[in-house]
Amino acid sequence: MDKFTTHTGVGVPLKRSNVDTDQIIPAVYLKRVTRTGFEDGLFAAWRNDPDFVLNNPVYAGGSVLVAGPDFGTGSSREHAVWALQNYGFQAVISSRFADIFRGNSGKAGLLAAQVDEKVVQRLWDWLEDNPGGEITVDLESRTVRAGVGEGAVEDSFDIDDYTRWRLLEGLDDIGITLSHDADITSFEAGRPSWKPVTA
């Protein structure tokens, strides 16, 4: 996994709340058996609408999504994170993320930056005044920034320390856990014999 320290890229306002994972990537796109190529399914139902934000050339190459509250609710599909990443998004900013989505993001290297609802609104306002403008998500200082001078936005975002550390170090989950192999082995030795097995 690549290290994530800071990222600056075109901000994309997604002015909807409760964007569930069926919206991010509908089930019909989940049939692939690889980890790539999910970008064409991203927000598929909305992409037919010429007014949908991703169809606006101004936001081509967008990499920082600014979304309404309760982003990523619904199904646990990690394809939602891959679809966002395959499309080119590196960070999502919202005032509230669904737990599974937040977990999936951290593990795949997509930054889920939780900010106050007012900050989302200010970023939307700023993007309205500066369409195609770039937003910086600085993981080291836990801040989001957009613009300079009057109307500029700068605020902190929340992310738990552990996820932040892993993203900063670009650490792979399984490798970390396998360094505790002895602990797992001794736990296994103490499990009651009546626990069910499938084999």
Binding site: D22, P69, R77, P196
Partner: protein, 470 residues
């Protein structure tokens, strides 16, 4: 201070904990299906890793298997690729698989309990958000993403931050004809889809204790629909009776040891929950959704709400969008909403008790002329049991389609889909836009409401049906 049930189960599974870090949790049972596992196995191969505990892992095919012609090769090439990939992965890594055509095949959350693999006090995960179903047995069970699937395959553990605890106490008894599904739909409308975020929820109280295991599974199944990490119910005699004698249940001295332990799995009297909610079951009625998330529901006797009924601007907008998508007008009595397709099935309501209930209402009645009723058993065992009891004949005589086991129209990955604009009454758990097919409109309902709706052709409860002669 005492511990809550979920804290007890959690603590029994901590392999390693360190300050400021999530716990490393041992996983007792890892369930797999064809949709969320291929990339995980892909990852193992890339890193040259193996499955640590194939003996704690079980796979089945459910999400996109056909429910017609299931003995023939799968027609859809992509579905076939996923299923074949699962078969190859299970063979390569030594994982037990119940494929299409096998007597133990079915929806992963129906299969675990019916094999007796789902037991109290376990940690159970699956790359599927309705894994919470297994919480009905007093297990901590939750859905995980594909990277986590890979992590569990490789290590049989997960790193997890300890969730907060919540108690949902449902006092009183459910009135006749009101089911576990109505209970949980009422709860979700009460809390909203985000109300459970960050919590493991314990459902308790008289109404919960009075539920069958099937009903408890229905409630726990929908925990995720109001955002909860997991939902669970303390095991009791109902639980033990259900498990006893199942193929993978402990036997003899093991059974006694297991039950002795399971009896300790109760929230201590002096334990404190981070949050508590109380509901009264005795006032509940048949409940249906009118919108595009499971929190947009109302009693069947109500009318379609108007955006003006809501104070929050977000709710107003969401209601307006939902009504537009659903093609509904505010003020219309829900009982007058005409339904094209009724779906009885899914991991929420596709177990034998659900099919018995549906058949008891459909017996001697016929499905409305321009309504289609699809009955899809949750597993092959459920199908065979239903056929042994003659339920299939009741369904077919009423004009319903009797299908093979799988997720089917719950998510429309197989050919069982709604057409654009088509309206369904569905016993499943999600009414998101397009969930059952692009442009499809879903009303979530209980089994009795589904059956009565199929007969009348509009959203109905059995009380709306004319009594049968004789």
């Amino acid at each position: 201070m005492g511990k809550t049930l979920s804290e007890k189960v959690w603590d029994e599974h901590v392999v390693r904990s360190a300050p400021g870090e999530p716990d490393l949790l041992f996983i007792d049972l890892h369930l797999l299906h064809e949709v969320t596992s291929p990339q995980a196995f892909d990852g193992l191969r890339l890193a040259n890793r193996s499955v640590r505990r194939p003996d704690l892992t079980l796979a089945t095919e459910d999400h996109n298997v056909p429910t017609l012609d299931w003995d023939k090769p799968i027609a859809d090439p992509v579905s076939r690729t996923q299923v074949e990939t699962l078969r190859k992965n299970c063979a390569d890594f030594g994982v037990r698989l119940h494929p299409l055509g096998d007597v133990e095949q079915g929806i992963v959350h129906v299969v675990g309990p019916q094999l007796g693999l789902t037991q109290p006090g376990m940690t159970i995960v699956c790359g599927d958000s309705h894994t919470s179903t297994h919480g009905a047995f007093g297990a901590i069970a939750f859905g995980i993403g594909t990277s986590e699937v890979e992590h569990v395959l490789a290590t049989q553990t997960l790193t997890q931050a300890r969730p907060k605890t919540m108690a949902v106490t449902v006092n009183g008894s459910l009135p006749d004809g009101v089911t576990a599904k109505d209970l949980v739909l009422t709860l979700i409308t009460h809390t909203g889809t985000g109300g459970g975020q960050g919590y493991i929820v314990e459902y308790r109280g008289q109404a919960i204790e009075e539920l069958s295991m099937e009903g408890r599974m229905t409630v726990c199944n929908m925990s995720i629909e109001w955002g909860a990490k997991a939902g669970l119910i303390a095991p009791d005699q109902t639980t033990f009776d259900y498990i006893e004698g199942k193929p993978e249940a402990p036997r003899g001295a093991d059974w006694d040891a297991a039950v002795a332990h399971w009896k300790t799995l109760r929230t201590d009297d002096d334990a404190v929950f981070d949050k508590e909610i109380e509901l009264d079951a005795s006032t509940m009625t048949p409940f249906v959704t009118w919108g595009t998330n499971p929190g947009q529901g109302a009693p069947l006797g109500a009318t379609v709400p108007s955006p003006d009924d809501f104070d929050e601007p977000n709710d107003k907008v969401a209601t307006e969008k939902a009504l537009q998508y659903m093609g509904l007008e505010a003020g219309t009595p829900l009982r007058e909403v005409k339904v094209d397709t009724v779906f009885v099935g899914s991991c929420t309501n596709g177990r034998i008790e659900d099919l018995r209930l549906a058949a008891s209402i459909l017996e001697g009645r016929t499905v409305a002329a321009d309504t289609r009723l699809l009955v899809v058993p949750g597993s092959v065992r459920v199908r065979l049991q239903a056929e042994a009891e003659g339920l299939d004949k009741v369904f077919i005589a009423s004009g319903a389609e009797w299908r093979g086991a799988g997720c089917s129209m719950c998510l429309g990955m197989n050919p069982d889909q709604l057409a654009p604009g088509e309206r369904s009454a569905s016993t499943s758990n999600r009414n998101f836009e397009g969930r059952q097919g692009k442009g499809g409109r879903t009303h979530l309902v209980s089994v009795p409401v589904a059956a009565a709706t199929a007969v009348r052709g509009t959203l109905s409860s059995p009380a709306d049906l004319p009594a049968l002669a004789g």
